[in-house]
Subunit: 473 residues, 2 copies
């Protein structure tokens, strides 16, 4: 990242944290230059960048001002779910596929996408690593590595756990084809068809699909937009519905954006231990934090091996390479065997490439850059939504990841908006795909992981118009 | 392949086909040289190679003779299975894992291995292709390719089907993490827990594991060691047990080595159509034929889309890369969606590498070499088994693939042999892992896919001794 980008990012962060408020005048170029010990031209470039992204405005002969949003959107409240229903046979896959297939068409403004822009990842460096790894590959490793995965990759993953203070033995780690396979294998390892799984609401639609495929029932516990799953309600639900497993995204939850505070994570582990309930912890966004440090995985507090901690490199390093893993606690052997009889092993040249990249460094530098970019983009998209969406809109402001969860006025039907938006070449992720009960008819998930530009701003404006039209129509 | 290797291979084939019989004198070096139009030194090298492999012997001042086996083993008969049992809850996974884990230890003579020697594959050329492919990879393809797989790879696969006279539309093909994932996805697509699946006996253990994992029942129909599944019995079984799906390996069946004649494949399709039964056709060995042409997949005769034809590159080109596929007929959309919600997509750089290799040629040349090597090794191993195993032994002589199925005297308990052999650093695949009813207590599967040498010969001799000891003990 260049010096002026860093500076822009730090100013943007101050705007985000409301250190600089809407309408307020920013320090002059000379002041910033002196204060930060950078050249005036660096400050000019930083201000220019922020202006181009719609965050600040120049006023002739006066200076730079933080853009005043036309309106100030309120933060999200806890969703008023209907009383947690009885065990729910899940039947949402068809809708999810319909939405996913529709939004796949190229040239769409991908506000509904599940992935951030692939341009944020070091493909060239990965290509070099891959060329090197595959050239050095010992043919015999293709018959020797079975199930759990390349031992050097597992070592590198264990080393990263150490950074977060978690000691994971190598043989607890199973390398998978992306986190999605890890999650599916875990679900197979700890449930039998007919069982009930406790999930949060709203929830990642792949969890619903996995539950549906395996003939399981789901019981949903509402999540708070800032602090995640409601633990009191969770405990009541355990007593009432006796689930055999939980599946929760504890950090930068998809779609809510919530992160459980450490105290809640600790209490969550106490609950798991009390009822001897295994937890599938989906932690694929944990590395994409905007604050000082990585939010601690709940796995950190687990001293009984009850947590199956799943993650991947698909959102942090190598989209499309399909490398994920699970650290499966006391269920590791079972998951290993399921892996062996499901897809045998994860592609070996790919595993060795990722292992090589992790070993040769550059990963942390790349992650820092990625986090900066995403946090800056969040600001730009947020600003744009504030300008274009109706006043009653409520929006999450997550401290990481690349999704907003947006509540629209009660009357809005987002499935209709979804279809209308597609005709304008815009995708969104409509709320009902995130619920076994197809709730959230007036919610959308919005991806801010793609570069913000005028086309995106126009797309968000179009969405705003479609919403207004529905309200007045 | 060098000229002398080709010559050796052709002589070996004549021995295999009993054109040259045991004890018979071979043509002199001069005769062969004239006949084939090659130099005398080429003939010498070919004879030397055959001698080194234990197929022929030099007698001083007399010439070369085909080795006389000490005994002549009989071909396999149809296994006398007990009356086809009632629907069988399958519970064989634990035993399979035990065997697989035990045989994983390095340095073992891998007679029980599932894969042939990795040295038979063009890893260097693949490495170059991969370096090239990944360098050219468009980052955007990582978010655009979902589910069914890289379109160029699917096109290359469709082109190979054309060689066999089969027209497969691209959107019927789903690229998977090896054939194993394809088989599992197919089983999920066409069954629900509790259903009955018709399989052959003996059967590939992964089929048993998949059936067990999904909570299905299995009904077994005996296979003939030369012509495969018994179609009369199959039809009776359909009427009696009403399976909802079949899973059959029609060519070079694992472990039997049988291949269904074309007439049987045609009749099989008629049966499927009559009962509207879908068939998972596992065809991973079809390219490894020793005769003139590739055995036709049953899919060729299917005009109703009832056959889900699964195969992979793991045994023909790129072990450890984990690329397979299914051409799923009328179930294609369902399989695509299952793929999407199970492992999302197959690793993209790997798919592009294989596509590139197929496009740039060399695949057919490599396959010819591979087939030659395997057929020569079959001969060497066969000869060794004849020399070292008891006279009552019966053995298959498949026209492709790399497995023998061997029937030992009734009294032998191969699970005991398996454990004793491991202590001598030798692995075998014991019969009971190939049966839902744990039959085949006196059968083993033996891999001849690794280079034949004195160490292998000694291992087969040791096995022979262990068997004899058990018989006399």
């Amino acid at each position: 990242m260049k010096r002026y980008e860093e500076l822009a990012e730090s100013i943007a962060k101050s705007i985000r944290d409301e250190v600089f408020r809407g309408g307020e005048k920013l320090p002059s170029v000379r002041e910033v230059s002196t204060l930060k010990g950078v050249s005036a031209s660096t400050v000019f470039k930083a201000y220019y960048l922020l202006e181009a992204r719609g965050l600040i405005t120049t006023r002739a002969r006066s200076g730079y001002y933080v853009n005043n949003s036309i309106k100030k959107l309120k933060p999200l409240d806890v969703t008023k779910t209907e009383e947690v229903g009885p065990h729910q046979e899940v039947d949402v896959s068809e809708l999810v596929f319909e939405v996913m297939e529709a939004t796949r068409s190229q040239g769409c403004v991908p506000l509904g996408a599940a992935f951030p822009s692939p341009l944020l990842y070091p493909f060239d460096r990965l290509a070099k690593m891959m060329a090197h790894s595959v050239q050095k590959m010992d043919p015999w490793c293709t018959v020797e590595y079975l199930g759990p995965g390349d031992s050097e990759l597992r070592r590198q993953i264990a080393l990263r756990y150490r950074i977060d203070g978690i000691n994971i033995p190598l043989d607890e780690i199973v390398v998978t084809n992306g986190a999605l396979e890890a999650l599916n294998l875990c679900l197979s390892a700890i449930t039998r068809p007919g069982d009930t799984v406790l999930i949060e609401s709203p929830t990642f639609y792949a969890a619903l699909q996995s539950i549906e495929k395996r003939g399981l029932k789901a019981v949903e516990v509402p999540g708070h937009p800032v602090t995640g799953i409601d633990l009191d309600l969770m405990e009541q639900t355990i007593l009432k519905h006796q689930p055999t497993a939980c599946w929760i995204m504890t950090t930068f939850q998809n779609p809510l954006g919530s992160s459980m505070p450490d105290a809640n994570k600790k209490r969550l582990v106490e609950i798991l231990k009390k009822y001897q309930l295994p937890l599938i912890e989906d932690d694929v966004y944990g590395e994409l934090y905007f604050d000082e440090k990585r939010p601690t995985p709940t796995k950190f507090y687990d001293d009984e091996g009850l947590i199956l901690h799943c993650s991947s490199f698909s959102k942090t390093l190598a989209p499309g390479y399909r490398v994920g893993w699970v650290s499966a606690g006391r269920f590791a052997k079972k998951v290993q065997r399921l892996k062996l009889s499901t897809t045998h092993t994860t592609s070996i040249p790919v595993q060795q490439t990722i292992a090589n990249y992790l070993a040769k460094g550059g990963y942390d530098r790349h992650l820092r850059q990625l986090r900066h970019t995403l946090s800056l983009q969040q600001l730009c998209y947020f600003n744009s939504v504030e300008r274009h969406f109706p006043e009653e809109t409520r929006i999450s402001k997550p401290h990481g990841g690349y999704f907003f969860w947006i509540e629209l006025p009660q009357k809005v039907d987002v499935l209709k908006i979804h279809r209308a938006a597609l005709e304008h070449g815009i995708s969104i992720a409509p709320g009902p795909i995130f619920s076994a009960q197809r709730q959230y008819k007036n919610y959308i998930r919005l991806n801010y992981g793609h570069e913000w530009d005028e086309k995106v701003d126009a797309a968000i404006a179009t969405l705003g118009t479609l919403i207004m039209n529905q309200l007045t129509g």
